[in-house]
């Protein structure tokens, strides 16, 4: 049977389906379709791929649609991928890659110049991609809807870079400079409060906050490496400059009058920092005979950060500080926060891999880490009523240091035919100290309001085993289990100060985390073309907490079960299908130290259960065209008492997505694709304000040349 001239397309289409099932309409190419004939005689290495998409219909929340499908609601289009390569300056290779999708804001241009004979290269480029967010919220079960900000939000990530290096004989060298940025707006779950809660007059915090993100990171890296048959070594340096200029905007008590200072107001918080980071590392690897490999590495990193910030309340999101603006409860602010932090880290690791016998390999490792940090800041706190505003200076300092040693050992045993076992143990122990001080007031009348020294120790143990079994060529199974224990102890010496009510972490005396995890997986190839992979994961995590002056309690008990399966069926030479499912049961129960009374607003239980199904059918219509039909289903229903008491969003939702894709090869190097996606999302727990019903049409033209 002749392999399909277009068979590669189905690999592509399947990949496309994986993307489109959730991010519907991601028609951007992972690869270009290629036939076996072209593959076998591949000489052309250049291509261009154009794609675009538009709404046929969009009813409901555009912000919700954009978040889910990661496409601009107004449509998108452009070059989703191109490559041009040629030989220049003799036999050097120049390759240009690019992408430019307007609307979705996906851009790339990259140039690679490579001299394979002499081993050097230069790589430079620019890329940017966008993630859409929905700032939708403000729904109260009473039916009121509050939308304080534009809810169609997006955040762009980008990088501009240049790299040069060589890989010649035994030596490698790389120098790379890059400028990364993250800029835009996203929603935040630092919810604002509203009395329109549907629960009487009780304020409820369900109004989404807005984050303005402006972060940059400039990096220069230099790496040098040497490789011989028995020895490897390398060293690297990294210098970074990180700048953060972020702002959060929270609308408090929307719609309420403001006579007493507890009405509508914007809480504007500006957070800034400038960090300089320097890191150096080195490593050696020695191959001692054929059975023993030894390696070691060390790194040292320092980071100095200068802080800045303001937080105040105003009538608008872009307002300025006014000391007489009514603030209301929990409305402390600060002006002119400034300070600095220093952070140092040492890490030393050593590893050994020993082939103990024909069927045994043992790998052991040690890791030592030391971290220390000093932080200092001061600001003017703003509080008090509008008629008598207070401005009080505060300054605070924190010092922290800890050491930790981690030891790991792992064995791999293959002594039984068609079995492999991998037992492992990890153990870590560490200790450190934390000193915190806070002063309030003007000198010389300033008073110490916090004076706390904490000594802490931690130990961690994880052990388990993984096994894999291939009893036949048509079935294999895997089983794994581990237990993870972490014990944290705190010894806090706190000077009791006037008005001090003792705060975290001073309250926690001891905390023990325990996780038991098991998974079981099987793959059956029942007949030619039909395979099933099924997996069951179970995890249980408990946290035992002992607080000062109280008995210990199980403060958290979480159970997670995940059942997942995929069936793949190549039914005939022309039809294949894949069906998958994920059933997730996830419940967390939080305990209380005592239960002398039942308080109505207690929060004790939360579920994150959900179900997803996905299916895809691919059919070869003829020698040049394919049809794909895919379907995705998602549902979650975790409505219980907490729904009324706390935060409703997303507790009850359902999504159906149906896609149909037609692909046609016009000639050996050109193909086109059309994709229609119908999507329906409903979320009663957001009062229907996140719902949408959409139909989207996408097209793609791909060419090789």
């Amino acid at each position: 049977m002749t392999p399909s001239l277009y068979g590669r397309t189905f690999l592509r289409v399947s990949a496309l389906a994986a993307a489109t099932l959730a991010s519907v309409g991601s028609v951007y190419a992972y690869d270009i379709p290629t036939s076996p004939e072209l593959v076998a005689n591949a000489t052309a290495e250049d291509w261009a791929s154009f794609s675009g998409g538009a709404q046929l219909k969009l009813d409901g929340s555009a912000a919700s649609y954009q978040r889910r499908h990661q496409h601009e609601e107004a449509g998108f289009g452009g070059v989703d991928s191109f490559r041009v390569s040629s030989t220049v300056f003799g036999d050097r290779i120049l390759r240009i890659d690019g992408k430019a999708i307007v609307g979705d804001n996906e851009y790339l241009v990259r140039a690679l110049l490579k001299d394979e004979n002499n081993g050097w290269y230069v790589d430079a480029g620019y890329k940017e991609s966008r993630v859409f967010y929905a700032g939708t919220g403000g729904y109260s079960p009473g039916g009121l809807w509050i939308q304080p900000h534009d809810d169609q939000l997006a955040l762009d990530r980008g990088e501009l870079w240049m790299e040069a290096g060589f890989d010649k004989d035994a030596w490698t060298f790389k120098i790379r400079g890059s400028h990364k940025y993250r800029k835009g707006q996203k929603d935040s779950t630092m919810w604002g409060d509203s009395v329109y809660s549907g629960l009487g007059t009780t304020a409820r915090k369900t109004v989404p906050a807005l984050l303005d993100i402006d972060e940059t990171r400039d990096t220069i890296e230099i790496d040098l490496g040497y490789v011989s048959e028995k020895f490897e070594a390398g060293a690297g340096l990294r210098a970074e400059s990180i700048e953060v200029e972020n702002k959060s905007t929270i609308l408090r008590n929307p719609g309420q009058a403001n006579p007493s200072g507890s009405g509508q107001r914007y809480q504007n918080t500006y957070t800034g920092s400038e960090s300089d980071l320097f890191s150096a590392h080195g490593y050696v690897v020695s191959y001692v005979g054929d059975r023993l490999t030894l390696s070691g590495a060390a790194s040292q990193t320092t980071m100095d950060t200068v802080l800045s910030g303001d937080r105040f309340f105003a009538a608008t999101a872009d307002g300025v500080y006014d000391p007489r603006f009514p603030r209301g409860n929990t409305a402390h602010g600060y002006n002119d926060l400034h300070g600095d932090t220093q952070w140092d880290q040492w890490v030393i690791v050593g590893n050994a891999s020993f082939v103990a016998g024909k069927d045994w390999t043992i790998v052991g490792g040690l890791r030592y880490e030391n971290q220390s940090q000093d932080s200092f800041s001061e600001y003017i706190e703003t509080a008090g009523p509008a008629s008598a505003p207070l401005e009080e200076p505060f300054e605070q300092e924190g010092e922290r240091e800890f050491d930790e040693v981690l030891a790991t050992i792992e064995a791999n045993y293959t002594g039984i035919d068609n079995w492999v076992f991998t037992p492992f143990v990890e153990y870590a122990v560490g200790s450190g100290s934390l000193v915190e001080e806070q002063m309030e007031g003007h000198a010389p009348a300033a008073v110490l309001v916090l004076d706390r020294d904490t000594e802490f120790d931690r130990d961690y143990l994880k052990y388990g085993i993984n096994g894999r079994w291939y009893p036949t060529t048509w079935f294999n199974g895997a089983l794994g289990a581990y237990r993870k224990e972490r014990n944290n102890g705190y010894d806090t010496l706190e000077r009791v100060l006037p008005g001090d009510t003792s705060r975290y972490p001073a309250f926690i005396d001891d905390q023990d985390f325990l996780t038991d995890d098991i998974y079981l997986k099987g793959t059956v190839r029942a007949m030619k073309g039909l395979s099933l992979t099924a997996r069951w994961d179970r995890m249980r995590t408990t946290i035992d907490t002992t607080e000062l002056a109280h008995q210990g309690t199980v403060s958290s008990d979480q159970d997670i079960d995940i059942i997942s399966a995929t069936v793949t069926w190549v039914a005939t030479s022309r039809v294949s299908a894949q069906v998958g499912a994920n059933l997730v049961y996830d419940q967390m129960i939080t305990g209380s130290v005592s239960a002398n009374t039942a308080v109505a607003s207690s929060v004790a239980k939360f579920s994150s259960d959900y179900t997803t199904y996905n299916a895809i059918v691919m059919v070869a219509l003829d020698e040049t065209s394919d049809l794909q039909v895919d379907y995705y289903y998602y549902s979650t229903d975790n409505v219980d008492a907490n729904y009324r008491l706390t935060l409703p969003y997303g507790m009850d939702a359902r999504e159906d997505v149906l896609g149909v894709t037609y692909t046609k090869r016009l000639n050996a190097d050109v193909n086109i694709a059309l994709r229609l996606v119908m999507s329906d999302y409903s979320e009663p727990s957001s009062g229907g304000y996140m719902d949408y019903d959409s139909q989207m049409l996408y097209g793609r033209l791909q060419m090789r040349f």
């Binding site: 994986a18 915090k205 972020n246 997986k521 998602y634």
Partner: protein, 258 residues
């Protein structure tokens, strides 16, 4: 509700039925084609991992200690276990000297990873997930499939959380007032592959914090720390506006209020 369901199904069933009918009709014609599913390469056969090391020695040399190397067993039943388990049959790739499109690259397409990690497909398909499905991220951005621990854990220079702060600089600190939970790692509060809760949180309300900050119920209220929180717990989350917004750490408030 019933009408909504009927409308929903009508919206999907009709186009689906049309598509199925079209496929059924067309399948009656004769087409000389072969379907492939990942990781597969049309026309290629398995050649074994030894051929891979001829060009990719830097990768294969370190592969022995990787998580994925533990798929290998002695005996004859585990056929085709090796590089081609994930990258697809490589005969064509070898024949033409490593040409483009002749090998599967899971770094650009998560479908291969999902063949074994079947639960991750569902998690990444959720609305609150890292953008792997849209192609803006790949599994290999966080995991190293060819060497050591799959997430740079164990005896490595870096830790799991170091991978997170590569992109999330503002959350990395250090802060004057630390949140101790950050030392346990980002995954104490976040599910990095995807969650039904916003911001990939493990839970969406106060239970997230109550895991560690246990409630002390008395006849007068619910105490967390030294303060009665009974009237606060029903208001939303602990990190709501005006309460404990600075969950990753604070330069101003010992209670992480802001």
């Amino acid at each position: 509700m019933m009408n909504m369901r009927k409308r929903r199904w009508a919206r999907f069933v009709i186009p689906g039925a049309v598509a199925a009918w079209a496929a059924a009709v067309i399948s009656c014609t004769s087409v000389n084609r072969v379907m492939v599913v990942p990781p597969s390469i049309p026309g290629a056969t398995y050649v074994g991992s030894d051929d891979c090391s001829a060009c990719h020695e830097a990768v294969t040399k370190k592969f022995a200690g990787s998580t994925h190397s533990k798929l290998h067993v002695n005996g004859g039943n585990a056929q085709e276990i090796g590089c081609e388990s994930c990258h697809g049959p490589a005969s064509v790739h070898v024949q033409n000297g490593g040409g483009l499109f002749t090998i599967v690259n899971p770094g650009r397409n998560p479908d291969t990873c999902f063949q074994c990690h079947v639960d991750k497909r569902g998690e990444f398909s959720l609305a609150n997930a890292h953008p792997v499905m849209s192609g803006d991220m790949s599994c290999s951005d966080c995991h190293s499939p060819h060497e050591g621990k799959a997430s740079d854990g164990g005896a490595q220079l870096t830790t799991v959380s170091d991978g997170c702060v590569k992109c999330h600089a503002a959350q990395s600190g250090p802060f004057v007032f630390e949140h101790e939970a950050a030392r346990e790692g980002c995954t104490v509060c976040h599910s990095p592959h995807g969650s039904v809760n916003q911001k990939m949180l493990k839970t969406r309300n106060a239970t997230l914090c109550l895991q560690c900050h246990s409630q002390v119920q008395t006849s007068t209220g619910i105490y967390i720390g030294s303060r009665d929180h009974a009237s606060f717990l029903g208001q939303g989350t602990c990190w709501s506006g005006g309460c404990h917004e600075a969950v990753h750490g604070s330069h101003a408030s010992q209670s992480l209020r802001f």
